[in-house]
Symmetry: C2
Subunit: 372 residues, 2 copies
Amino acid sequence: MNKSSIIIVGSGESVSDLRYASRLSTPDEFIYFSAAGDPALHGVVVSDLEYGRALKNCPENFIILNSAEIGRGSILKQLSALAGKYDFREFIVPEYFPLALADDLRAAGISVRVRRGVFFPEREFKSSDEIELIRRPLRAAEAALRRAREVVAAAGIGNNGELIAEDGEILTSEKLRFEINSVLLRFNCSGVGTIAAGALQSALPHHVGSGPLFARTPIVMDIFPRDEDTGYWGDLTRTIIRGKAPEHIRKAFDCVRKVRDEAQKLIRPGAIPSEIHRFAAESFEQAHFFTGRDEHGTCGFFHSLGHGVGLDIHENPRLGPGNHKKLAGGEVVTIEPGLYYPEWGGIRMENLAAVKSDGIELLTEIDDLFEV
Amino acid sequence: MNKSSIIIVGSGESVSDLRYASRLSTPDEFIYFSAAGDPALHGVVVSDLEYGRALKNCPENFIILNSAEIGRGSILKQLSALAGKYDFREFIVPEYFPLALADDLRAAGISVRVRRGVFFPEREFKSSDEIELIRRPLRAAEAALRRAREVVAAAGIGNNGELIAEDGEILTSEKLRFEINSVLLRFNCSGVGTIAAGALQSALPHHVGSGPLFARTPIVMDIFPRDEDTGYWGDLTRTIIRGKAPEHIRKAFDCVRKVRDEAQKLIRPGAIPSEIHRFAAESFEQAHFFTGRDEHGTCGFFHSLGHGVGLDIHENPRLGPGNHKKLAGGEVVTIEPGLYYPEWGGIRMENLAAVKSDGIELLTEIDDLFEV
């Protein structure tokens, strides 16, 4: 008799744990279950509309249940029927499990226990197949970046330093983002949130950019496509400048690139993410790039050095000050130091790498070309 | 002394209630609060990185708190600090509030109560400003559909009935989706999940389509762009056919269109969604289009007639068999009957309309052109 089961509820499109466990992605909610201590008793409860897709996509040994076996009705009803069918007395659920459903299940006498932290810690470690799936959107990002560079390089420079596109119109962040996302589409990737931010907007790491772009000020392009077929993400940032960079911006660029490349050398099994992050922060300090608040606002290097990438664009491991857990090998992480100064803008340079037994395999292939 | 407050936690990008209440959309999690009985005491707790964006986007009378007022740390810590600051003893949260956070708050002595059902029922009723925001992605969908029709109309027909694009290659679902999504990009809309499904795939309402498209079989195009600036969605479905439709498919098309147009006439304040849905279902039956399971699988008209559209692509009110709540006016809904037969494919025709005092205002402007 089975007593306890893992339960995840959601749509595969928005809940990556569900997609990871079931290989199923649907617009509608469905249920994943996996009995503790009985590896054969796991599967999904799907709507009749998704039954065919589940048969095709779920692993071979999955139990696929629909309304014929479980009955129609709400997710609560289906979960109760599932508990009855297999004599589950306790559900083990992720932190993000919906509160109302948990309250209802508890009221119905089913124990609901949260598994704290990351639900599937094994997601942190990518198989070679998964690494291939991450390469695809990363190739898309690189192709898109090449196109964006071409557009900026081909732009003329107006009287006020504004960039003039080949069609004679002012080159804006919006146009550049359109060029980037158009290339992503060719790779069947979506580019929701693509950043193409110039001048002072580039000093705000989350600003997607708007309005005219200018020569001799940084243009930060952060491109993170998701492969629509597989759900895996790529992540790439480069900063470019049209024309010759002013000396202080060139210095910042050189420093960011150097810190990224030196931080990459520290990544290997056994290395501690918080220490790699601290190395980056201290390197900036030693190069006299101040981090903190000045009269203009927050400045310097004030975000994490990097993060894991997989079925979520931000996942474990975090390469930040709070993560003291040693790398083990198999992780895929970004390394993306940046410097941001409200007086002149920002620089961010981001690579993606897989942690291997003796260091990293750099997944990013594109160069660091800065002045175009 | 305030005792109780609405609390929502999430990223504005994925939690529409949060975006609705705060007008803020961020990649990172933040907190929205609104004290019961004190309209002046509402605002957000955001990271320092998002402080500037919150100042710019949130309503003028919002309290905007960051780490200086609330302290750094986890969402749990910030919520506890918020409760302390304003003497909140109870949090009223949506059904989807994360269970782990609720368990922790309860353990810390803060009562957490779920508000059942839709969290902001007023989201169902759109202001004229919101209707304008919905028109934008709808216009994008219509432009994309026009382009897709051009591509199909210009296609040649190969020896096996396959469509040949102007570049001499076989016209596939993937290519058609690319053409559609490329147009959406020009409107700053993303087209994740765009459906361009032909032949037997069109009999599966959730199939996005893959592989070659053929003449004289239906091609269902379901285009639901999201405006990246505002978060509002459009929704449009048309079915087209290259060449002359076989008689049985033409008959199904005519019937779906007639049912849609007649159902639209029933929509007005006071009308009951489940009855409008039933009207559609009965109309199909009377026209001898069988719904149910036959030897080929599920067939006929087996999904809801429509749904609300706004900051979520599927929201209230549902025009389905389960919704007996009268329409009140101000809703924006799809009307999208469909017929699906595994032997030959499917037809779906979807309009979007605003419920007005005397009926509907049709937001969809594009025609129903079928044979191209």
